[in-house]
Assembly symmetry: C2
Homo-oligomer: 432 residues x 2
Amino acid sequence: MSQLASAPLESLPAESLVGLCDTLASQARIAATELASVRSDAKNRWLIAAADALVAATESLLAANAVDVASATANGLSAASIDRLTFTPGRIQKAAEGLRQIASLPDPVGRIRDGQVRPNGLQVQKIGVPLGVILFIYESRPNVTLDAAGLCVKSGNAVILRGGSEAFHSNTALHRLLAGLLPQFGLPEHAVQLVPTQDRAAVGHLLRMGDRIDLAIPRGGESLIRRVAAEATMPVLKHYDGICHVYVDAAADLEMAERIIINAKCQRPGVCNAAETVLIHRDIAATFLPRLGTALTGQGVEIRGCEKTRQFIPNATIVTEKDFSTEHLALILSMSVVSDLTEAIRHIRRFGSKHTDAIITRDLPTAQRFVQEVDSAAVVVNASTRFNDGFELGLGAEIGISTDKFHARGPCGLEELTSYKYVITGMGQIRE
Amino acid sequence: MSQLASAPLESLPAESLVGLCDTLASQARIAATELASVRSDAKNRWLIAAADALVAATESLLAANAVDVASATANGLSAASIDRLTFTPGRIQKAAEGLRQIASLPDPVGRIRDGQVRPNGLQVQKIGVPLGVILFIYESRPNVTLDAAGLCVKSGNAVILRGGSEAFHSNTALHRLLAGLLPQFGLPEHAVQLVPTQDRAAVGHLLRMGDRIDLAIPRGGESLIRRVAAEATMPVLKHYDGICHVYVDAAADLEMAERIIINAKCQRPGVCNAAETVLIHRDIAATFLPRLGTALTGQGVEIRGCEKTRQFIPNATIVTEKDFSTEHLALILSMSVVSDLTEAIRHIRRFGSKHTDAIITRDLPTAQRFVQEVDSAAVVVNASTRFNDGFELGLGAEIGISTDKFHARGPCGLEELTSYKYVITGMGQIRE
């Protein structure tokens, strides 16, 4: 069915594509204005109804997904990509659970972020307001469609979804389900829209509509994100890559260091908060590297190390500057022995991506200096880099992680999808 | 003396100008890294010393300022512009007071904005950090140089100042004084830099240095701000104009409405939070407009009104759509009679600039709807629009007012010049 709906759009002439994008943006703008005044319980009821409907529609969702999986297999996508793309009843259940969880989170719209009474009696409040219209551009996993739609609507924002072409039929089915339920809860029907064509030029058109779209959020490979950042006429919430470090200090608990490195590297190597580089203080190189090398090799990790690393881990290949600058997203780990904390910080400043960097140490002043001088979205002491995540940090859910300092940094959840206005209430005060 | 210093720079060839801007940006970047770790008391001692030095240097500052005032007079600048440009001992004293006030404000760097302990025992803190390097581009009043330098350094940011050419000698003298005092308090000497040439191309070069400059703040006329927004490769904190409205509801206290309108329009007509348009509910037009017309005319205000307005204020000329879209920054007021709150909100949405909009009413549901549906940085109930100001809202001081929703909105003080990082402290936790 979604093929029937999308087929004619694929052959749209350029003007029609601009017109289509224009319509999406204008409809979203109007929906955003309405959505800003919608009460929390309407949004929550929609989220819960969507969760129920998802589970009820399992069979038809699996059928739509099967079309995508078949194309992906025919197009020779990697096994990992196909796995990420594939729906199962269990995954649909889990996605539904995610929507119910968003329903249970506090609504950031209308929240009094700060307030005071001024000496002249004026009441000043900072009140949470939605950002407006969000353009969300993402790749592969279709459950991201649900998270994004849920987070945007709950935070009062209209969203234009642009998923990867490999998940087009799955996303179309999910969008139809989500959007179809909006009107019965009094929510504007264009609060959640999906770009109904796989034409790549649509993204370029939408990125030029900064007059109606308030924010673009790209999530996917670095080239996608660089393209969005270069072309967008609206602010962009993003991170390019996650080159995350674990620095093992001379005063580290080595058992803890080993456990954390294995977790940071191996628990899910394909995500942005996985470790890419381990730095080791030279005083512990001889004691720690052999056991770490054995543990990592046992987990199937390919080690690339500096000369000194290779003295103690003979199976390590030589590391290059390119390795230090690369987010491998795979079981490959760069390692370097450093002479002290200063050299470790210098390495992180030079090669890091200001995403997540950890230190393992028992020495308080060392931990303090690391926290002070490493300028990353998350700085971690004696824990895994994998904790830089919206759920783990208590935000409930996240739409992405930002490494920018402007607006929001780190995981971005409901609160980060809002702005605020000042509401000033007086009894006739004028300025002297 | 500053003429001697600046004269050769005026004739810089293009490559030298790029090189100069490059040096400014690189020096600022290094200074910003150092400044991020400086303790509050060093910054405060510098602010207080600068305040003392300002007052002590009154005579030489007046001499430098006299050069600017003489050129401005020769170039035929308006009396108002020359007045804004002119130093007096009293104004220097007041500017020094401003620096002392910034010293007394809490330091946003290192402030724990939020914190919690997660169920697994991880301690999660959101800690204030500086944005980095700020490029501040502004016009006329030289005391803005002091405010900007004080606010940036106190919030841990290095600043590159680019003042208006009409204030070049005054700004050069002020900058020399401020920057000269930095090293004795352990602050990096390039924390405060002034672009040492009046060549307009320098701004273009600096705006392309998004790799080292984190934020541009333009303050001045709309054309300056539009140029900066168009050319900047870094985020921009700004508002284009302040088309601020006062809506007088049918249920208004008319004495209060008159007092507030006179204050909002006349107390300082040349600033962004002054009222440009008054909207009047038709039910009170006959009672309220004649007295309001008399009061405004008595203050020298030129009234431009719709047909209905002119029935009750005969000396009003006819208002145009262009008037409704113009920030006059002068004693000119646009007026329109509206049939209800809906029409007032529609007018504000169409012509307003999302800066500051006020309602005068005794009716609570009307006030609530106005606050909910008007999407401006500040929405005011029964008080003057002039209160949308950093000092009046309790921020202490402001570097500008933002009408964007991304990052900060409304007046921007110390807190708005910072971002945050997550600091995650564990005892060896790994992700399950």
